[in-house]
Symmetry: C2
Subunit: 319 residues, 2 copies
DNA sequence: ACCATTTATACTCTCCTTGAGCATAAGATG
DNA sequence: CATCTTATGCTCAAGGAGAGTATAAATGGT
């Protein structure tokens, strides 16, 4: 950076030209399955160069997604910006800045003629789904590999620190599982060379953990998006962006659980939703259900005005 | 964005070249005053083009700041990325992408020969300091102007919505003050043309609110940084990045209060800090104090390992 | 020496939230 | 009609948060 006081207009004549790319984590929930939009057979997130014909980054993203899926994006939030030095080894390759976004959409139809389609996000992060308890392969497969990695640290102190980190992020040694640590877990697995994308030559033989890989750092971006969303649903009414116009409280709960990757106490969930007046009855009842029919609710859009900025609560502890 | 699946390397030959700028919100706290680093006589945040000789954006920022102040940056976090279409009207001006960062630093010395210096952040946002209660000019000056703006809306419904928004963000009509809504307040004042930076020609005569303006959108970036920091101190032990090696609990409390812009209950503050084992006694006592001398504490760096990712609590309600 | 003042520090108390469980209602199915 | 399934209402105990009381340890003035 230069010392000169804010002189954007006097742009450097050379060397600093870059391209700007957008990368999108588009989320939808269908029948309790959280999906993300992917291209290239599920091996990449949708991405492309930013066109400066748009007013802003967000506008560009919305326009593109809406053209792609035919549906408006309910909620859009910027995630993170990286700088890439072009492909390694290829000095001619241009520098680029990648700006990633999280987008929530209600429907999961993808326009015809596009190669984009929806993939379940737990295909990429099977260890993140704790709705049926901690997946067995964490204890059976991941934990031992992490232990081996921790043991491989040069000093006993470092070994202990590594293992402590593993135990915290993966909820080992009787610790609680923290569903928000998606990115930390991914980065830990990367460091331990348990992720194919990390594949350094000398680690080719390293044992690998389940989960579908993605191009470049796309799985990391996805992890960032999931982490952000899991944190956000706890204090902002964003879940509703993923719901149909009318829904039962159980459907709402299932969506929250799908995102959080863990179950919540049903009665407490209802208590919180109702006491916050986030929803109102439509008067109708859910059709063709098993068991007692449930009331249908709709999101009270008024709350967006009442406390567009204020909080929401969900029975997911925020420790 | 293009439909092509992830082809960064096949960069567009034209039109998409941009420059990347970094903008920094650097925060330090001295004697209960939160400061930010500014240039150009306090009218701009430090910024400059990103040099691709650095490994990453964060590295570039750190290097630059350390060169500038001679001190390592304790904590760095990305804030937001904007795209600018060059200066309006100047078609030749290059497009640019501005990436803003929040940085915390312990000392507030600025290297010699630089024009950078520290400014109190409440100079720019006087309405954000509620440590001595709500500033009188909010009720006396801001609220009436906001009310006038709300009344100017075309329909009664819109008038009500506008006013509701004002009341929520500024804690009017007996609502609670929410210190995290820094950005929302700034944007509201902007919309109401009460901010010089908003200055549209036809509003030149509009009454203006106290607070020092900044170049371009720098005050908005600063608002983003303050908001982020106010939110962060509630669940991450970042305050310590701003403290000297040893401090009393009151000093720590004053720093938190300086950032949050509001007072906290002393006994409860201590209770929380101690029960979380964030600090440990140094054994020494504070010198030359008024009143009973206080024990000196230091931050327990171990907690960064123990729960690098886990939470912290402060007696600031998160409604 | 004594007192007012200032800050430090230890407890207590009450209300609210949260996590969890029990009980009952209202449908479908055989 | 018994049983299964989901919906929905209610209670209870433990912990946390907000706020107040009481006491201790220093300083400076009279």
């Amino acid at each position: 950076m230069a010392r000169s006081p804010h002189k954007k207009s006097s742009a450097p004549a050379s060397g600093n030209a870059v391209t700007a790319d957008l990368v999108a984590v588009l989320v939808a929930v269908t029948d309790g399955t959280p999906d993300i939009m992917t291209i290239a057979g599920g091996s990449a997130l949708p991405s492309g160069p930013f066109e400066f014909t748009h007013r802003s980054l967000q506008t560009a993203l919305r326009a593109w997604v809406e053209a792609q899926t035919g549906h408006p994006l309910g909620y859009v939030e910027q995630l993170y910006t990286f700088a890439d030095r072009g492909r390694s080894g290829d000095a001619k390759s241009p520098h680029s800045v990648s700006i990633s976004y999280l987008g929530l959409t209600r429907e999961d139809k993808v326009g015809e003629g596009f190669e984009a389609h929806w993939s379940g996000w737990y295909d990429y992060f099977p260890w993140e789904d704790h709705r049926a308890g901690a997946p067995a392969f964490i204890a059976r497969s991941i934990a031992p590999k992490l232990k081996a990695w921790a043991k491989a640290a040069p000093s006993p102190t470092l070994q202990r620190e590594r293992w402590q980190r593993c135990a915290i992020t993966f909820g080992l040694d009787d610790r609680d599982w923290n569903e928000e640590l998606v990115l930390q877990r991914y980065e830990l697995l990367w460091e331990a060379s348990l992720i194919p994308e990390a594949g350094r030559a000398h680690d080719r033989e390293a044992p690998i953990v389940p989960g579908k890989p993605m191009t470049a750092d796309h799985r990391r971006i996805l992890a960032t998006g999931i982490a952000r969303l899991r944190a956000k649903i706890k204090y902002r009414p964003v879940v509703f962006e993923l719901m149909p116009a009318e829904f039962t409280l159980l459907q709402l709960q299932r969506s929250v659980e799908a995102l959080a990757g863990r179950l919540v106490h049903k009665q407490n969930f209802r208590r919180l939703i109702e006491q916050q007046e986030l929803v109102e009855e439509t008067g109708a009842m859910a059709a063709d259900t098993v068991g007692r029919p449930a009331k249908l609710f709709r999101f009270r859009h008024a709350v967006l005005a009442e406390r567009a900025v204020a909080g929401t609560k969900l029975p997911l502890s925020r420790t």
